[in-house]
């Protein structure tokens, strides 16, 4: 794909817009790309990055990523008109059908788990679903897309150090504000997902998982996780091809 733009939108957080035909193949919010960070042979492996939003009219999509290590740092150095080797869209996204019109969806994102939820929020609103969003970040400097999510409904931001929005975790916000919802969609650090699952044991909806990947297409078994109702422990799901989105309580967090 071709880089349309690539800019820092928060501390160490970059938003990159890419153009290419594969945009036409996106089927649901929550799918991801498997990206070769550099045009050189090294680093060897692709990096999985969620699709944040896409536009089929102009073949563009947006990703948001944090510069963690070598790969994402190289990605942040790519310039307009560079071509980027992208495999995708991969994986299964959020299913919208499960949420009915007029129901309320609570969207909860943590850090770089936020991006895939943006197109989800827009798609839900389009279906006539009411959307409330809770976004958790480390601190004020890492907050992004707060205003974008406001297009879809109420937004609550929390930061761990309290430097922006509410101080604390996303679960603190949900409790304090007594947010009500029919469906819960979440993506973020595993401890956050676990806390949500424990706090709302009967919740419906889905979550998106991260796992280190090899192939990204289901062939190498790098990214498997256990399922919850599996007495002998041999059942599994592949995050890359069965996920990254799973219903609550399907997989072990």
């Amino acid at each position: 794909m071709i880089v349309v733009s690539n800019r820092e939108i928060a501390e160490n957080i970059f938003e990159m817009t890419l153009q290419g035909k594969i945009v036409q193949e996106i089927t649901a919010p929550g799918q991801f790309l498997h990206i070769k960070p550099s045009s050189q042979p090294m680093p060897l492996l692709r990096r999985p990055i969620s699709i944040c939003n896409s536009n089929k009219q102009n073949n563009e999509l947006t990703i948001i990523y944090r510069t963690e290590g070598e790969g994402t740092t190289l990605l942040s150095q790519r310039k307009e008109n560079d071509s980027v080797d992208v495999l995708g869209p991969l994986g299964n996204g959020f299913s919208l059908e499960e949420t009915k019109q007029e129901e309320t969806a609570l969207i909860v994102g943590g850090g770089v788990g936020v991006p895939p939820l943006y197109s989800l929020a827009l798609a839900l609103v389009e279906r006539g679903v009411k959307v409330t969003t809770v976004l958790g970040f480390a601190d004020a400097a890492s907050v992004f897309y707060e205003n974008r999510f406001k297009e879809a409904g109420d937004v609550y931001v929390s930061t761990i150090d309290g430097s922006a929005g509410n101080k604390g975790l996303v679960t603190d916000v949900i409790d304090r504000e007594s947010l009500q919802f029919n469906r819960l969609y979440a993506c973020g650090p595993t401890p956050m997902l676990k806390a949500l699952e424990e706090n709302y044991p009967n919740v419906q909806g889905s979550l998106s998982l991260e796992e280190r990947m090899g192939c990204g297409i289901g062939a190498c078994f790098a990214c498997v996780c256990h399922t919850q109702n599996d007495p002998d422990g041999t059942e599994y799901r592949k995050v890359c091809s069965d996920g990254p989105v799973f219903p609550w309580r399907e997989v072990v967090l």
Binding site: G214, F221, C223
Partner: protein, 305 residues
């Protein structure tokens, strides 16, 4: 295509290029990307007698020009491999090399007997070298006596040719090669991964849940080439060469070193189309070089040009 035709025991291949075991599953995912009939053969994911979940995650880590994996031989087990995977593969005419693993010799015998009985696999590949299985699998790969005994027993129960996949984690790989040759192996696959580790300095812990894993990718290519070159001097057994192949030059280098065919592993993750691309490039190259057939390369070895 005939210039690339490569006939190895049990494997009548349109070309000498196949995906390596464990990097291609049972082909289903790649079948969505291209026609598997283009491949010389397919090395299947290791099959064990019972289903295995494998190791905890993280199971992969990136290293300079390589990667570590500790999948731990996850697979659906013999029964499902036959009923689901092999039956799905039936529609393809590409020969199959079934990689088999186990903890005891009896495990291997059971899997070998059942798989070869299906008549669907062209040959078996004994994985005696997976560094990710702790129960004893490793010993088969490092002790020439044990490797030979295992080979002999598996040969006895198999109706198709048996390749032994050698471990590079040994002092002298030629001892292993000669031992399994004497025990009746029909061919060799080499090399499997090198045992390695990465420590995540922020946590101070090994990055892989299994602590150590197998190193693959371009980083290990010089070791693979050296080992194939050494083994080739000591035996005429067919060798399926692998370890870091990702370009046409790599394929040629392996064949000059002494490989009769090659397998591509890790590179499938970077470029899922790598196998058919390499096959096309090799075909062009053989024409440009005016070789009658690709075997000339390995037969002439280091006197190729």
């Amino acid at each position: 295509m005939t210039r690339l035709q490569t006939n190895l025991p049990g494997l009548s291949m349109k070309n000498p290029i196949m995906p390596a075991s464990g990097c291609f599953g049972f082909g289903e995912e790649f079948a969505k990307l291209y026609d598997l009939n283009q491949l010389g053969a397919i090395a299947l994911k290791a099959t064990t007698n019972h289903p295995r979940f494998g190791n905890a995650t993280p199971r992969v880590a990136e290293t300079p020009a390589g990667m570590l994996n500790a999948i731990g031989l996850q697979n659906p087990g013999l029964e499902k491999v036959i009923s689901e995977k092999l039956s799905w593969l039936e529609t393809y005419d590409t020969p199959l090399l079934a990689n088999i693993a186990g903890t005891t010799m009896e495990d291997y015998e059971e899997v070998a007997a059942n798989l070869s009985e299906t008549n669907q696999v062209g040959a078996l590949e004994l994985n005696i070298s997976c560094p990710n299985v702790k129960e004893g699998g490793i010993a088969f790969g490092t002790d020439p006596e044990l490797a030979a005994e295992l080979t002999r027993r598996v040969k006895a129960v198999s109706t198709c040719p048996v390749y032994v996949k050698l471990s590079p984690n040994v002092t002298d790989i030629t001892l292993l090669a000669r031992a399994v040759e004497r025990a009746g192996a029909d061919g060799l696959s080499m090399i499997n991964t090198l045992s390695g580790m990465k420590i995540e300095i922020h946590s101070g812990k090994p990055l892989l849940a299994n602590e150590s894993g197998g190193l693959s990718g371009p980083a290990i290519k010089p070791i693979a080439i050296r080992m194939i070159y050494e083994v080739r001097k000591q035996t005429e057994l067919p060798i399926i060469g692998m370890g870091g192949i990702s370009t046409l030059d790599d394929v040629i280098e392996f064949m000059i070193a002494g490989a009769d065919a090659v397998a591509v592993g890790t590179a499938n993750f970077t470029n899922p189309f790598i196998c058919p691309e390499l096959i096309d490039e090799l075909e062009d190259w053989v024409k440009v070089k005016g070789l009658e057939n690709i075997q000339e390369l390995r037969q002439k070895g280091v006197n190729s040009f």
